[in-house]
Amino acid sequence: MSEELGILIGVTKPDQVTFESRRPVSIGEYVILNYGIDKVLGLVEKSSISSDALGSSIRNYEEAFESKHVAAENRRDKSYKGYIRILGYVAELKKCKAILPALPPEPGTEVYEASVKDLDAIFAPSGQQWVMIGTLLRNTGVGARVDINKVVSRHLAVLAMTGMGKSNLVSLLAKEIARISGTMVIFDYHDDYSTLDMGSNNINLLDGRINPRLLSADKLAEVIEIQENASNQMHVLRLAFTEDVKQRKGEDFWDALIHAASEVGADKLYREAAAKVVDKIDDARRKFHTILDPSMTDPLALLKNYKINIINLVELTERQANIAVSFYLEELLDDRKKATRQNKGAAKSQPRFPAPILVAIEEAHVFIPKDEDTDTKYFASKVAREGRKFGLGLVIVSQRPRGIDANILSQMGSLAVMRMIQQDDQMHISAASEALSRDLIDQLTSLNPGEAIFAGQWVNLPTFVKVDEVKERKIGGDQKAVEQWSQLAALKQQAAKESSESYIPSGYIQD
C-alpha cells in the first residue's frame, strides 16, 4: 500500500467526502480509500489550505506579517483539506463501470495516494485498441490511453479555443493509427497536417480537387460561384449541363459546357443570363484550374487503405470545400455500406475500403454549422447516426463549439475538451453531451495548451490528460513576428552593405 495521505473528516456522503491531509493536495490527484467490499477510487476536486494564525480575523497588514512568522514556526498551524469525489470501485472501473459503494465511508477512514499500478489499470489498460495519448495531468507517471475502437464506432469531438492543441491531438491520433496500420482521412482546411512526418510512407497527401462532371447542376453552380438567387443563370446552367456534356473529359468538358450555355442564350429571354454564365465558367476554369478538374478519375480512388490520407483544402473556397467534404463523406459511407454488405455476402461490386475508416473534419463549425443546412452537415449527420454499423468514424474539430449543430455534437460518443473560457461554448457542450459534468466544465478555464479533459466512451473515466506534443508538426504554432522581422532586417542590412560595397572603387581605403 502506498503512503497514507490523510483521514476522512466531517460528514461523509456516498459520492463526496472531505479529508484532512498531511500535505497540500492538488486538484485532479487520485486517491484510494478502503471501504465497502474493496478498494475505491476518488478524485480530488477541491483543495484548500488554511492557517490558524493567519485566519480571517486578521485586521491589517502588520498583523498578517507578524502572524506569518508565528505560523511558520507552529507545526500544527496549517490545515490541508481535500474534497474528494468518489468515482467507484477500482475493480469495476477497470471494466469501465462506475459502481459506488451504497454506504458512505466512515469518518476516520484512511485516504491513500493511488498507486501507479492501480491507475495504469484504469487509465492505460493493455490491449491493442488502447493507444497512448499522453499522461494523467496530475500523475505524470501514469500513462493515458484511449480506446480507438470506440473512436471509430462512436465518434469524437475535439473542442477548444484556438491554439490549445486540437490539431496536435488529431495528429497524435493519426500517428497512433498509422502505427497500427489503420485508415484515416483528414480534411485539412488550414494546411496543419502537410508537414506531419511519420517516418515511413504512412501518409498520403493529396490536394482537394473536385471533378465538376460528377456534380449536380446546383453544386456546379455553387463551385463556379453563381449566386443562389440568380434564377435565370441557374436555369441556363441546368439546361447546359447535359448528360452529353458530362461525358466529355478534360478541356473538352469546359468547351462543351460553354458551348451549351451559349446555345441556351439563343433564346432571347436568357441571352443576358447565358452570357454571364459563360463568363463565370470561363472565370472558374482559369481561377480554379487546380481545383476543378474534369479529367479526374474517381476521387475516392486517390484515397489509400491503411494510410493517413490528408486532403488539403487550403485553396478551396468555403463552398467548394463544403462540396468536396460532403462528396467524400457520401462516397465513403456508400463504400463502407457496400463493404459491410459484402461481408454478409450480398454486395455486387468490390468496395474500395474493406476495413473501417476514421474521418477528421477541422473547422467543424464551418462545415457543420448550427443554423444553416450544408451538404456536409447532411452527410455528417448520416455518418454520425449510421457510422457505427458500417465502420465509419467521425472526428469533428472546432474552436467554436457553439457554432456546431447540436444534434451532431450530441452524437459524438467521446469528447476531448481543452481550455475554453466562453460561457456559451461551455453551455453548448454541456447541453449536447452528458459525458461532461458541470464540475468538469468549470475546470476548463484553468487548462494550459496541451492539457485536456477526456470524457465519454473512449476512456474508462473522465480524465485530465497532458497530451503528448507531436514534435514533427511544424506549422500550427504561433508565428513569431518580431523574431522573423529582425531576421529579415538583418538580411536586408547585409544585402545593403554588399551592394554599397560594389560602389566603392577598388583601391579606395576606408578609414
Binding site: D52, A53, R59, E62, E66, S67, V70, E73, N74, R75
Partner: protein, 276 residues
C-alpha cells in the same frame, strides 16, 4: 433592539461623551502622558509560553456536568503542561468553577516554570483573586511569582482613581498617543508581595495592554520584558496567549460531546452552557 435606542444615542452622543471627556479628562491625559515612556521594543528571540484556562458546564435535571481545563503552551505550539477536571455533580456554581480554574492555572504555571523564557497568564492576578480567600490567594501567588499577567482590558483605577477618573487607567493611556512605549511601573502590594503595574504598547498603533509583574520591575527590566513579548506577538498581543486560549477553550459542542459519552444528551435539561 428598538430603533429608538439608536436614534436616542445619535441625538445624545455628545452630551454623554462630554461626561467622560470633561475638564478632568484632559488633566488626566496630561498626567498619563507625563508618565509614558516612549519605547519601540526590539524583538528578542525567546520562547514564550501562554497559560489559560477554560470551563463550561451543562445542567441536566438537577445534575451539572462540568469541565475545567488549563494549559501552558509555547508560541510554537509545544504543550508544556496541562490539567483538567470533569465531573457530574449536584451543583457547580460558576464562582467555584472560576476559582478552581485559577488554581489550575497556577498549578500549570508551576509545572511550566523554567521550561520557557517567559511565562504569560491571561488576565489580571489582582482582579481574578480579589474574591478569593486570603489563604487561597497567597497560595496561588506563590506559584506564580515568575509569571507575568497580561490583559487586553482592565478596570483598574489604581493610578488615576485619586484624580477622579471615570474610566479605567488603561483608557487614558490608550488616548495619550498611539506610539509604542510603556508607563512608569507603579508598585503595589498584593497578598504581602510586591506587584508592579505597567501599561504598554508593543508597537505603534496597537492597543495598550496591561502587564502585572510580580518581581521587582525597573525601567530596564520592563524594556527587556517588552522585547521578549514583542517576539511572536501579533497585533501587539503575545501569540502564545491566543494559542493557549484556543487550545483549552471548552465549547458548547465539546460539552455536548462529553454529555453524549455519559449518555446524557437525550435528557431534557436547562441548556445553560456558557461559551460560544
Amino acid at each position: 433592539m428598538l430603533k429608538e435606542v439608536f436614534l436616542g444615542a445619535l441625538r445624545n452622543k455628545d452630551v454623554k461623551i462630554s461626561k467622560i471627556k470633561d475638564s478632568n479628562f484632559h488633566k488626566i491625559l496630561a498626567e498619563a502622558s507625563s508618565r509614558w515612556i516612549s519605547y519601540e521594543s526590539v524583538p528578542e528571540i525567546c520562547e514564550s509560553a501562554g497559560i489559560d484556562s477554560s470551563w463550561n458546564r451543562r445542567a441536566f435535571q438537577g445534575l451539572q456536568l462540568y469541565v475545567i481545563d488549563a494549559v501552558a503552551v509555547t508560541s510554537t505550539n509545544k504543550i508544556l503542561a496541562l490539567e483538567w477536571e470533569e465531573d457530574i455533580a449536584g451543583s457547580a456554581r460558576s464562582e467555584l468553577l472560576e476559582s478552581r480554574a485559577m488554581v489550575m492555572e497556577a498549578s500549570v504555571a508551576q509545572k511550566a516554570a523554567g521550561k520557557a523564557d517567559n511565562i504569560c497568564l491571561d488576565g489580571s492576578l489582582v482582579s481574578r483573586l480579589t474574591k478569593s480567600k486570603p489563604e487561597a490567594a497567597s497560595e496561588i501567588v506563590k506559584k506564580c511569582t515568575s509569571c507575568i499577567f497580561i490583559s487586553k482590558t482592565s478596570e483598574s483605577r489604581l493610578q488615576f482613581g485619586p484624580m477622579g477618573s471615570k474610566a479605567g487607567d488603561i483608557y487614558y493611556y490608550g488616548h495619550t498617543s498611539k506610539e509604542a512605549g510603556f508607563s512608569i511601573p507603579v508598585e503595589t502590594q498584593f497578598c504581602h508581595a510586591p506587584l508592579f503595574e505597567v501599561y504598554a504598547r508593543l508597537r505603534d498603533h496597537t492597543p495598550v495592554i496591561r502587564i502585572e509583574i510580580m518581581s521587582n520591575a525597573t525601567e530596564q527590566e520592563v524594556k527587556s520584558t517588552l522585547n521578549k513579548l514583542r517576539y511572536h506577538s501579533v497585533g501587539g498581543y503575545p501569540y502564545c496567549l491566543k494559542l493557549a486560549h484556543n487550545t483549552c477553550k471548552i465549547t458548547n459542542e465539546d460539552i455536548d460531546r462529553l454529555a453524549s459519552i455519559y449518555g446524557l444528551q437525550n435528557e431534557q435539561g436547562a441548556r445553560d452552557a456558557l461559551n460560544e
